[in-house]
Amino acid sequence: MTKTGGEIIWECLVRQGVKHVFGYPGGAILPAYDAMTRYPIHHILVRHEQGATHMADGYARASGGVGVAIATSGPGATNMVTGIATAMMDSSPIVCITGQVGSKLIGYDAFQETDITGVTLPITKHNYLVTHADEVARTIREAFYIAASGRPGPVLIDITKDAQQSSCEFEWEAAAPQLPGYRPDLSPEPEDYDHALSLINTARRPVILAGHGVIISGAMHVLRSFAEKSGIPVAPTLLGLGCFPASHPLNLGMMGMHGEAWVNKAIQEADLLLAFGMRFDDRVTGNVKTYAPTAKKIHVEIDPAEINKNIKVDVGLVGDLRQVLQHLLPDVESVDRSEWRQYIDELKGDSAVRDIQNLPDDGHLYAAHVINDLWRETHGGALVVTDVGQHQMWEAQYYHHEQPRSLITSGGLGTMGFAVPAAIGAKFARPEAEVWAVVGDGGFQMTMAELATMVQEKIDIKIAIINNGYLGMVRQWQEFFYERRYAATPLLSPDFVKLAEAFGIRATAVSQRAHVVPTIREAREYRGPVLIDFQVEQEDTVYPMVPAGADLHNMIRRPSPIVETAQDV
């Protein structure tokens, strides 16, 4: 059957199972847009192409499938860069399609010509420049395969205008991927399995470090069996939250820079670390020279380039985490590790007393209160999408995630402006989910134009702005490390309630603790988008904290009037 390149794009997307595409039109992608109307695909018009990429990313992370974004050449394509880099760092499978000037014009600085494959080379898993209609089908099939398999990631396809316009024979079967250099299906060596098992079965103080890979490979179930059978406690990374139920007795809590103090101490004192689908990011290791000095390390990871990259390990098991754990499970012995777990429990020490939830009410509204109330009111069942900053860490600490894919956050790149568009994408992927965007006053203003997208698409998202009048996380660093010189962090914001109303979104401001719960209840009862401006304590600080580069166990703790006074006496 003869089709234009533009038609083949949609034909292939439909066959790949795509139902939603987030995008923004322009000259170089017009032929494709023109063909779109003839295909059963819901196109969501965004307000900025960055939004399209974050939506595709949120869509992918909420669903486990591939998200798709589309834009024109030049500025449309360059606006996607941040979203692509975000997806790359968090191994999120998205396919970005960009229009490109006609193939004859490439290299002549034509109107809206940008070398987007050159620009995105280091921030895509792979990318393509397509100059002929007959390459479109195979390229799209390869892109979806690459994006979703192995360690997932973003793939960009840049398609020239003439390739969209010209026609060729289209045959789906003949356009199967041809990727001789791509092998995502590795599995560990038998001797490495044996070595790992002997370490596991003899360890006395083991800890499982559970990362994003647990969720990506769908290893939640087998991880749980593994932990329960072996009695080994589990500490999730930020992106691992939800991969192991927060309420499970073996769940220690989050590790890392703003993780729980006892978790970091347990890691430092462990004799075996089982790193499952995580990559020893500097935000979880602190100073690598003093990291877990007494522990042997087993790294189960699908990307061979991660083995021994940040932390030297004793055994690297390269392969799909779920398969590797299934392979290990029958030979994992039940060992009584209650003493070790009890010891970790004792490491908690005065942590509970220092917890802001337990400090005497001083009449102020703290972000932690808001998050904790949100968790209670939603019974931990919401799909929370956060932005980047203090509120992100408080969410991680005070919203207790029981389910995988119930927290979507930009971890690796730390992209402000992520939350609102990613929440929109997540809602399209899981329309039945209760989606909350938890976002700072700074980050919200980076992509708030997407409120219009929400309204145009009539989607029901609740937005909680944690409004502290500062670029809070940066202010916190200035407080600790720059003697409180608050250079460029105080932030004047518009009246968020009026702003939301201008978009046609219901909105309320809350500044008292007693009003938090009723406002959340009202928002949940209302069918349609709601924005709540939580005006919280301005100079609150995320505790505990490992200063960048410090030893993992050297955490700055929240000062407690109760503890400190008791010690004074």
Partner: protein, 187 residues
Amino acid sequence: MLNTFVVYVENKPGVLNRVASLFRRRAFNIESLTVGHTDKPGVSRMTIVVDTDEQGALRAEANLYKLVNVLLVNNVTGGPAVMRDLAMIKVAATPETRSHLLQLVHVFRARVVDVAPESVIIEITGTEDKIDGLLEVLRPFGILEMVRTGRVAMSRGAKSAAAAVGGMAELAIPPEMRDDEDVSYSV
């Protein structure tokens, strides 16, 4: 320490850029990089020399494999391999110095490939050390211009790296090769 990689890649537009960009991106310093066709259509072969330690070499190899167009990576640094560099050196030559020059060329098993009234071009193939040695003795004559290809390398013995890339022609890795350790693993 200099590490020498032999890398087989799909001959597609932009592949050289992907490889070079990878080394830049991961903060490796490329000493030299040569690329050319192989006897298999659609497959190119690179020799890349990188200054890094053992850990860095493993990291470079693993990251090369992550490139979708990379078919095979061989670090030939430790093993027995033939390494060669080719240089052309244009040296000032007067009727008085010419015969002395030719003697040196002979000793180094180099060749004169061009003679002009006031200069000669000398071509030499060999290890970098050997070429450096020739340069040293030519310098007093006055080196006018020089070009070197950078290192190319090949493992000794009958084992053929290219054979491992054989599946290429079929444009997909045949099932029986999927467990072959030498075949690329991108993830």
